[in-house]
């Protein structure tokens, strides 16, 4: 690997696509816009795969050293602090560019069919290009401010894509909500950057990690010593940065935007809100992992618990939702919870770093099967024109390809043996088992639930309500979708089935040294049995229409209701924003400005006018009064002068 600057093309090609299609797309390209966008991305993906292949095949003695391929000072703040645009190559960024370009390419191809009737077809591809550029820039960042910049850019591309159907009020509300909630989290991220850059004296990842992980360094000692509310500066910094990550990755309690984000076109949900952008938070924690693991274990503990709680809450909610995209959204949140707590239970270096590897592994496999699930759901929605489970049923015959690929994805996410999800989830459970028993049991329970709600979804779509299959809406069409929509499903299904066989620990570990993963089949018995139990109970309840689900939901009563209403978290937020912020801060501020501050100004104006009205009377034209005034004034001024100058 000599000349590495070509790597810059990987993010820049999608950007070029964005600029080209954004400026000229509508007028000159029309339906060709899709092909052009896809072509740009295809080249970018090819380069990404090539780069990753080069990187992983040339590890030095099996140890993968980070390489900075390119660096350019974008904005110099002060002597030490600057925002540099860099390309940082290490095992996790290489893995991420593969994931991002692969899924993005699949979505580009799929959208050729899915979005072809859209009026703003070229705009759609422009936005996809913008997103892919931002996401690639994010994962390749070498500077914490650079990652923040791309972080915001993925946020805005997500905003634009969620609000793609901009004349739908629900889409407008959803995109606004997504942006503002993540913005709130980013406030923490920003302050965290300020804290960490101040204590470490650098914005560069390498330097920052180096200064903050050497226990004997003096900067670290002062940073640990300086505390606020009894917590050291580094810990605050870590916590605040994690807040940013939690917002982007939809961790409890900042997850409320993700289900609403499903208002966007379904391929977008697959790309942004399932496989890539939402895992940015996990990636951020992984990127700064040495700091978390070595310097601030407290924060890592928090990360572990936030992940575990999110995983279980989301899984419970997913069991009761009826909109298939929302089920998938909660399942995404739950799976990201798995990745998060895997990081949380990990340590730095050697065998103890298993959680880190497992988390990245799960990120990789999850991207495959979750993108597949969303694209499959998109095909279903395309076919029945509804998001609701009650409008679906018995689709396995009319949509054979979708059915098979969806089944593979469901088995993978449920952790069915020898599919990809099985391997990554077993590793996560193993890591949790070794380091935190409480989280392990939560995770075990959640993975059982996962199997249940995924197969609830599967049976409700492809079995159950067979009569719907013969109804009018579903029979007049013959094809389940054009070839461009089926091809990505097939490719991703292969990935979802086979990705588990990659010896991941060999490539990705905390310290770049290969990690021996020894699998203990006896350990896997319990999770697999639980998973199968989940599948079987879903089979009993949802394979055919029967009164069992209703009975069960009424016997759970309050819990079912709370779960159906997503534990009322949205309502709590609404109360805080509408009642507290708008009525108690915004309205008084506006009132105060209009009446008090401006009132003072008007008062001054009126007083001057009143005064001038009085003064006017002095100019009466009477000589006597003029003389009198003149004399009085002279006396007063003389008095002042004598008093002041003595």
């Amino acid at each position: 690997m000599n000349n590495l600057s070509y790597i810059a093309l990987i993010p820049l090609l999608p950007l070029a696509g964005f600029v080209l299609l954004g400026l000229l797309g509508k007028k000159y390209f029309g339906k060709a816009a899709g092909i052009i966008g896809t072509l740009f991305l295809f080249i970018s993906a090819a380069l990404a795969f090539y780069t990753a292949y080069q990187y992983f095949s040339s590890g030095f003695n099996g140890v993968y050293q980070p390489v900075i391929a390119f660096k350019y000072t974008w904005l110099q703040f002060s002597e030490n602090l600057s925002i540099d645009m860099g390309l940082y190559l290490d095992s996790i960024s290489m893995m991420m560019i593969v994931v991002v370009t692969l899924i993005s390419l699949m979505v580009h191809i799929y959208s050729l069919g899915y979005m072809k009737r859209e009026e703003r077809f070229s705009t759609y591809y422009a936005y996809l290009g913008l997103f892919t550029f931002s996401m690639l820039g994010l994962v390749l960042s070498s500077n914490i401010f650079q990652i923040y910049m791309f972080w915001e850019l993925v946020g805005v591309s997500s905003y634009l894509l969620i609000g793609f159907y901009y004349d739908k009020p629900s889409a407008v509300a959803a995109c606004k909500k997504a942006f503002i909630v993540t913005r709130f989290a980013d406030l923490g991220f920003l302050i965290g950057i300020l804290v960490l850059s101040y204590v470490s004296g650098s914005l560069d990842f390498n330097t920052m990690i180096q200064t903050l992980t050497q226990p004997e360094s003096s900067t670290l000692k002062t940073a640990v010593a300086s505390s606020f509310l009894g917590v050291s500066a580094v810990t605050w910094g870590g916590l605040l940065i994690f807040m940013g990550g939690a917002g982007k990755s939809a961790m409890f309690p900042l997850h409320i935007w993700l289900p609403d984000a499903m208002e966007g076109p379904t391929p977008v949900s697959a790309l942004i809100h399932a496989a890539t952008m939402v895992v940015a938070g996990v990636y951020l924690v992984a990127r700064l992992f040495p700091i978390f693991a070595i310097t601030t274990p407290v924060v890592l503990e928090v990360i572990g618990w936030v992940g575990a709680i999110s995983a279980v809450i989301a899984a419970i909610i997913a069991c009761t939702q009826t909109d298939i995209k929302r089920v998938l959204a909660y399942s995404t949140m739950s799976q990201i919870g798995f990745m998060m707590f895997a990081l949380g239970v990990s340590k730095y270096g050697g065998e103890a770093g298993l959680g880190f590897t497992a988390s990245m592994f799960h990120l990789f496999t999850h991207a495959m099967f979750k993108a597949l699930l969303f694209l499959g759901a998109g095909a279903v929605i395309h076919y029945v024109h509804s998001n609701e489970m009650k409008d679906m049923g018995g689709l396995r015959k009319s949509m054979p390809i979708t059915h098979i690929t969806f089944l593979i994805a469901c088995l993978a996410i449920a952790g069915f043996p020898f599919l990809s999800g099985f391997f990554s989830k077993e590793e996560i459970l193993l890591a949790a088992y070794q380091h935190n028993a409480a989280i392990y049991w939560i995770a075990l329970f959640t993975s059982g639930l996962t199997a249940f709600y995924m197969f609830r979804l599967y049976f409700s779509i492809f079995w159950n309500r067979e009569h719907l299959a013969h109804s009018e809406i579903q029979t007049y069409k013959k094809s389940e979708g054009p070839f461009v929509m089926m091809l990505p499903l097939i490719i991703l299904a292969i990935g979802a089935a086979a990705a588990g066989y990659i010896p991941f620990g060999k490539y990705v570990s905390t310290d770049g040294r290969p990690l021996e993963s020894h699998f203990d089949l006896s350990f896997s018995i319990l999770p697999v049995v639980l998973g199968i139990a989940g599948i079987v109970s879903a089979w009993i309840m949802y394979k055919k229409q029967n009164p069992l689900p209703d009975k069960l939901s009424s016997s759970f009563g309050a819990l079912y209701k709370a779960s159906y209403h997503k534990f009322y978290i949205d309502e709590i937020y609404l109360f805080i924003t509408k009642k507290v912020i708008f009525n108690l801060i915004g309205r008084p501020a506006a009132w105060f400005d209009k009446n008090v501050v401006d009132g003072m100004v008007n008062l001054t104006g009126n007083a001057t006018q009143w005064l001038s009205g009085r003064i006017k009377k002095f100019q009466s034209g009477k000589l006597q009064s003029y003389t009198l005034l003149y004399l009085m004034a002279a006396v007063v001024m003389a008095a002042i002068i004598i008093y002041v100058w003595k």
């Binding site: 000072t73 974008w74 904005l75 110099q76 703040f77 002060s78 602090l81 925002i83 401010f145 923040y148 910049m149 791309f150 915001e152 850019l153 805005v156 609000g163 901009y166 004349d167 009020p169 889409a171 407008v172 509300a173 606004k176 942006f179 503002i180 913005r183 709130f184 980013d186 406030l187 920003l190 302050i191 300020l194 850059s197 101040y198 708008f582 801060i585 915004g586 309205r587 501020a589 506006a590 105060f592 400005d593 501050v597 401006d598 003072m600 100004v601 104006g605």
Partner: protein, 498 residues
Amino acid sequence: MNLLLLLCIPLITSLAILPVRSRAMVRWISLFGSVAQLAAAVFLFFAYNQERDTGNTAVVLFEDHFKFISNPEINFHFGVDGIAVAMILLTSFVLVAGVLVSWKIEKMTREFYFLLLLLALGAFGFFISLDLFVLFFFLEISVIPKYLLIGIWGSGKKEYAANKLALMLMGGSALILVGILLLYFNAGHTFDVLQLSHTNINGQLQKTVFPLLFIGFGVFTALFPFHTWVPDGHSSAPTAGSMFLAGISMKLGGYGCLRIATFLLPEGAREYANIIIILSAIAILYGAFATMMQKDLKYINAYSSVSHVGFSLLGIGMLTQTAFTGALLQMVSHGVMTALFFAVIGIIYDRTHTRQVNEMGGLMKLLPFTMTAFFIVGLCSLGLPGLSGFVAEMTVFVGSWENADAFHRIATIAACVSIVVTAVYILRAIGKVAMGPLFVNNITKGMESNSMKDATWNEKLALIILIGGILAIGIMPEWLNKLLKPSAEMIMNRFTGN
């Protein structure tokens, strides 16, 4: 480069249109003059950089002296540093855009353009002057046209707004004048900025004069609580008037606060720095929260200006070099951004005859070009990377964080909170105006909605010029940063005693 050129072009142009009777001629002459001015400004930028690259480290470049009055000694002393060059570039950009968006003005076109050019002339003179008296003179030149622009071509309660604006700005000017005279009589009988900077001004005098100058200039740049002319002034002014007010006039104040008050009176600045920080932190948050409740687009931008300009003042109060640079970046960025915002609002108002956000919706369908500009300026306002606002705000934040005590930390965090509030009000406005189902209150009554045309060529050109400015700073900030930083360093040296 001869700086007098920068005065001559607007002066000659404004005089040249006076005898012209044809409206079209007036427009084209004004456009020609302002483009020439822009060219001169760009040339100045390159000439300045070239001079610096050859190692010229003088405080100001391209100096010029002309005797004016010998007793008291008032001279035309001109010269520019990096800050002035940046401000001149900004002003000429806004000038061209302002001339372009006013193309459709039918009422007393000649007088309108004359006043616009006069206002710009005042600003250019202000930025190149190094003599406090002359500087004050140019400042006043720029006030009168505002009064007339609002009073004659304005809308709504324009008389009230014009009076309020003129009186408040005059009040500010009075404070500045007193400050200047106090300096003259007590510190070496000179109005010359450079000479004053070498004079040892005693601490007591500094502490007396600093608040006069800072509040005086502060009124121009909407220092809390002297900002109330901003909402009324902007909302009543014609589009170009608002653009000039926010894009140029407010920058005169910011420039004065930093380049004159803080530069000349470092001890005074140190004394009052904490008060400045408190006031600007209040302005940032309070302006943002007040914006949330506004329904009129111009009020939204006016209050958000109060909030954004707060970042400039905060940067000044922080007294670090990075924060100074940030304050200056924010002045330039806010100037372009807010001019663009007002231009967009003007175009919307022209089509819909309303500025109330809840009286329209879904305009993306009818006015895609204008709405795209609206999106861009909104995103710039909420600090999206790649657009100018981000660069400026982040520099202010990083610079502020260099002060390690709790007071500065809290003020900085309070300022950071505004990035969330800004997102709330910007996205609300965009969500209401550009997105959602298409509807316009007035149009359903009389006009056909498909009779609404997107921006015309002149409007498009104005938007493109300003968007270009935002992108030029946002994508490649280092050129502007390099221009401003040495000057910020020079001001900082007054504090560190180098």
